[in-house]
Structures are given as C-alpha cells and as structure tokens.
C-alpha cells in the first residue's frame, strides 16, 4: 500500500520541477508583453498627431528656407505638402504595423527582432500577420 502512494507524488514533483525551470521566465514575459489597447480613439488620436507633426515640421522648414532664400511663400507651400506626405507615411506605417520607421519596405526577413515593434497602438501580433 505504501509504495502505491509515493509514485504519484514523486512524478508530480518532477512535473513541478520541470515547470519551474521552463516556465519561470516565460510566464513573466507573457505578463509584460507590450501592446497597447487598440481603441479607435487611441488610433485616431495617434494618426492625428502624426499628421500634425509632419505638417508642422514641413511648414517650419519651408518657412525657414523662405526666410533664408527669400522665396516666400514657395518653399513654405512645397514643404507643407512634403511634410503632409511624410506625416501620411508615418500614419501608414503606424497603421500597417511597421512601427514608425523610415524606409517603407520591410526587410526580407520581417521587421526585426520582435513583433511588438508596432506596439505603438497596434495589437501585438498585427505585424506578424502581415509578414
């Protein structure tokens, strides 16, 4: 009778040891997996900020060049649109899960070490689905 009771407890101990060894770090990472709630307001707000930032930078550079070269208002107009395009590019990248990186094609082997690069508002595996 005694030797019938001990084997289950020993094998469960072995299981627990295995779990403690393998699971220690994994569970921690799982809890801390980055990724923002992908709310519509959040996305809309981020998109707005990206656009505005592009336009602002374009306009500022255009204005500066106009002052320097005396080409008022042409540089401002040109750079305003370039900035808007740049902003849209950033929006596009953010929306397609390519992060906010410059350079609009992905590397052949995906987008680097992690799928959470697009965590800026995207679901954590949004980019993986793409790639």
């Amino acid at each position: 009778m005694d030797d019938k009771n001990s084997p289950p407890s020993l094998s469960s101990l072995a299981d627990r040891v295995k779990r403690a060894r393998g699971g220690g770090k994994g569970s921690l990472n799982k809890d801390l997996e980055p990724g923002l709630p992908n709310s519509a307001i959040g996305v809309a707000f981020r998109v707005g900020v990206e656009m505005v930032a592009g336009v602002v930078v374009g306009a500022a550079i255009g204005y500066g060049l106009d002052q320097w070269l005396g080409t008022t208002p042409w540089m401002l107009i040109v750079f305003f649109f370039l900035g808007a395009a740049g902003g849209m590019m950033n929006v596009y990248r953010a929306a397609t899960g390519q992060g906010l990186s410059v350079g609009y094609t992905k590397d052949a082997d995906g987008i680097g070490p992690t799928g959470s690069k697009q965590a800026d508002g995207e679901s954590p595996d949004g980019g993986n689905k793409e790639g």
Binding site: V49, E50, A53, F79, L82, G86, S101
Partner: protein
C-alpha cells in the same frame, strides 16, 4: 469662472534667478520636476533597502517597474539596448511620476508643458541620430531612400522620408503634451460645471470622476508610449533597415 488653461501658468517660487541673461528662477513646474525626481529616487532606493528575497508589496512594485522596462528594452531594442537601459528607465519613471503627480489636486503637471516634452524628445532624437551616425557612418543616409523604390522617385521620396524622420520628435512631444493638457483642461472645465450648477452639478461630477479614472490611465499609457517609441527609434538607429 477661472480659465481652464490658467492651471498651466508658470509661477515663480522664491527669488528670481538670472544667469547669463536667462531667467532660471525656481517655479512651480521646476518644483514638481524636482519632486518627481525625489519621489522616484526615494521610492526605488527605499523600497529596495530591505533587499527581501521574498519582496514586500512596495518592493515588488519597484521590481515590477524595473522588469517592465527591462523587458521593453530587451524586446524592442535587443541586447544592444543594454547600455541605454538606465536612461530609458529614468525617462519612463520621470514621465510616469510627473504625469501621476499632476493628478493630485493643486499640483502642477510639468508634462503638460510643450517645451518640457519637446526638450526631452529633441534630446532623445539628437542622441539617437548621433548613435546611428557613430554606428553606421555615412551608411546612415541610405536610411532615407526606401529600398526597392524606383530611382527616379528619389527627388520626391528623399525629402518626404527626411521630413518624416524629422517629425519624430515633434509627434513624440506633441502626443504627450497634448494628452496631458487636454485631459487636465477637460477636468478643469467639468470641475467648473460642478461648481456652477450647484445641486445639478451631480451629473458633471460623475463625468469628472470617470474622467479622473481615465486620466490616470492616460498618464500611465502616455509614459509607456513615450518610452516604447524611444525604444523603437533606438532600434532603428542601431539596426537600420
């Protein structure tokens, strides 16, 4: 009713200080920056002073924030991000505590100042660009031409890419600043309604309570977003595409 943006007014505390023609007086904004540093410093050093193997509640909070950022850097920058960890951790704690301190009534939210967020963003931007230049030299500039695009598109694409790159610090700083400012302004407006409507102020009061909860969430979220974008930019600088 006081203007809802009056809360963002910078007020000098104590004597005015002028150095090299610049006004560097101690202000309410400066007070809360120092306070944030103090709170973070005390929290992270005192909670760990016990060095308990089984952490106390406050110690596990400190450890949790450490591991949160450590994982963020590991996953978004990779092993090369290790030397930048202290900076990124300080950045996160500074913004987080700054945002949260701002939620205390009568306090001041220094992250609602565009100059503060922009100073942080431009510093990060310049530093990251320097890291990229040191690491990759002139190869860095190939960053601005998307691989695979037709060459005749270069005159159009390169300026767009450069602008898109330059807009990073602006979007980074505006995002944080605008979130904090919009939240605090809304709270002030609804607070004004509560006072103005008297007995009927219950409705805006409920909105205000909900808004306060939401703002605390935003405070944490924006600190997180600012930090993770810094990590992503750093990853780009180190690896280039």
């Amino acid at each position: 009713m006081a203007s809802p943006v009056e809360q963002f007014q910078i007020k000098t505390i104590g004597p005015e200080l002028h150095v090299a023609g610049m006004d560097i007086s101690f202000t309410n904004s400066a007070l809360f920056m120092i306070l944030a540093t103090f709170v973070v410093g005390v929290f992270l050093t005192q909670s760990m002073s016990g060095r308990h193997l089984v952490p106390t509640r406050i110690q596990s909070l400190a450890e949790l924030s450490y591991e949160f950022i450590a994982n963020m850097v590991r996953e978004n920058v990779g092993p090369e991000g290790r030397p930048y960890f202290p900076f990124i951790f300080s950045l996160f704690m500074f913004i987080l505590v700054g945002n949260l301190l701002g939620m205390i009534p009568y306090s001041y939210t220094f992250t609602s100042q565009i100059i503060v967020t922009f100073a942080m963003a431009i510093t990060i931007f310049v530093a990251i660009t320097i890291v990229a230049l040191i690491k990759h030299g002139f190869h860095f500039f190939t960053f601005f031409f998307p691989s695979g695009a037709p060459v005749y598109m270069a005159p159009l694409l390169i300026p767009i890419e450069i602008l898109s790159y330059l807009s990073r610090p602006v979007s980074l700083s505006v995002r944080l600043f605008a979130n904090m400012m919009a939240g605090h302004t809304m709270m002030k407006v609804f607070g004004g309604f509560v006072v103005a409507l008297g007995v009927f102020g219950v409705a805006p009061l409920l909105v205000l309570v909900a808004l306060t909860g939401f703002e605390i969430l935003v405070a944490v979220l924006q600190a997180y977003v600012f930090t993770i974008l810094t990590c992503i930019y750093l990853y780009d600088a180190i690896h280039l595409h």
